[in-house]
């Protein structure tokens, strides 16, 4: 396949900002919808407002800091086993 024109739409800072803004708007929309839909979870806390959003956010932040801790524990040089 001959090399085509490169895609560069994410190079400009303006487009990057647009993507981020779109992302943040989606988040707010999700939170608004959360207040209005009927809920039917197996556990009582599933029906609390914003439960999944909070769990997702906290879970991922703790995942990253946990991974940083793990790296401190298990990181060795690339030729460690050689």
């Amino acid at each position: 396949m001959p090399p085509k024109k490169e895609l560069t739409f994410l190079d400009s800072a303006r487009n990057q900002k647009r993507v981020r803004t779109f992302f943040y708007i989606t988040l707010v929309l999700l939170l608004v919808i959360d207040l209005f839909i009927p809920k039917h979870g197996h556990f009582s806390w599933e029906e609390a407002p914003f439960f999944f959003a909070a769990y997702g956010f906290i879970g991922c932040v703790s995942l990253i800091f946990g991974a940083k801790g793990l790296r401190w524990l298990v990181k060795k040089k690339e030729d460690y086993y050689d």
């Binding site: 090399p3 895609l7 999700l30 914003f50 991922c60 946990g66 793990l70 298990v74």
Partner: protein, 589 residues
Amino acid sequence: MIKPVPPAFIFMAGALLVPLLKGRLKAVYLIALPVLAFVDLLAMDNGTYWIVRFLNQDLIFGRVDRLSMVFGYVFVLITFIGVIYALHVKDDGQHVAALLYAGGALGVTFVGDLISLYFFWEAMALASVFLILARKTEDSNRAALRYFLWHFFGGLCLLAGIVLYALERDTIAFAYIGLSDPSTYLIFIGFCLNAVVFPLHVWLSDAYPRATVTGAVFMSALTTKSAVYILARTFPGTPFLIWAGALMTCFPIFYAVIANDMRRVLSYSLINQVGFMVCGIGIGTQLAINGVAAHAFCHIIYKALLFMSTGAVLHMTGKVRGTDLGGLYKTMPYTAVCCMIGAASISAFPLFSGFISKSMTVTAVAEEHFTIVWFMLLFASAGVFHHAGIKVPYFIFFGHDSGIRAKEPPVNMRIAMGMAAFICLFLGVYPDPLYRILPYPVDFVPYTAFHVLGMLELLMFGALAFTLLVLSGYYPAEMRAVNLDTDWFLRLPGRQFILFCQKPLQRFFESMNRILLGVVGTLKTWPRWAVGTEEKNDYLFHKKLTAFPEFIYARARYLKTEIKQLSFNLTYILLFFVVLLWIMLYWTG
């Protein structure tokens, strides 16, 4: 009416013809084999057939029911996609190994007894080793040996378990076993090793990133999922598996976040996904087993898609590490889109295939009120989006511009990726065809407003965490490093242990040599009468008796004895022993 044959034999016998064909004919033949196998599957009825009497046991090559059919379909489907993805490969050995491997997986799926199960199980292990060896680097050769040793160990456990089990229960039926006697534990360990249950998981994250581009696609699909199938048949409802599975979903995601090789990230997320299935097997209800089968089906397709798209990057750029890549969407948009479809599917985004299958297992866990396990699975769902869903596409195709301007991969790779991506989307939007072939009747509705919103919230706010941490610089940077895993306990202390044993032994033999030589030296000069005898002995042994062998040697030394011929010589020696053994057995018995 077509008379079906065991589908495993289509691949296994078909593989042998591959080296005889060339060019376009070979391509057509390679594609025709999975098609033929699929037609064969459609012609197979439920029931038990193809029974062969061997050593007073019934070997069953066709035990067909709804559970085995789901796995049969998806194994054939992924072989079809994988073969197309690998069509450009010139090395026939890889095609043969892949087909034998797929044949082994199909064999495992449809056998009805433990002996033929063992045969196909080992065939899979052996064939897949060649998919690592075919990379032909020093690193991959060593990884292949480690991979082989792991599976050798698992196979031995399984064999020992099967023999004991057959002696105890007087049956070799491949059916529900359950944990009770030591023999069942041995079988369980053998199966768990292939199902990457902690701590027997390291062979996967060690070997898969080192396999060939095309081999990794087959490997990601077959070994672990056939083990999932076997566990679902032999150990459903084992409480240990619930917790083992939950642990498997959680710990690999930490490793995946800090792994640099993108195929290693995918390997860890593979363990995470198999964790969901193992957990479902532990729950063992109808909904859970349905969830396991559905998740295995979807997982095979989207994981293969992810391995294919990262493999395409590796094929075109020769690089697969996060530190070396970035900004590839500019020249590889097609691969980028395929990768993102795979990423969305593995993250269980609504409208993608993971959503309609993973939620079944999670719901089954909630229905049985395993609260902690439910929280673990939810955490893992957010975590898998984090590394496989965002990290892999972001660091390869977006992120910082690495300056690499690679072209799109060859057309066969693009077709294979497109097919897998289509299936991911199709099943996500319209899961009915998959739900219809599941082992038990399905009355599960994935698309409820609450469920969709809950999943979207979980994923999007996980993405928010990623965005904020990357922007603020807290996200752990990609680094070239080795991250120790449980194999450290075998690899380094193992080496130390060998040295530990070797050194004292070496010392011992050296001192023995010294003492012995000293004694012999003394004897040569004392007492005087003995010296004369010794000289006579010397003459007899060193001159007279050696004359004949020297005579022969003088003529035989022209034969090649260089080290390069060693393998031939060894083969002849082995053959000689086999013939000798045969003669001995023949005359004695």
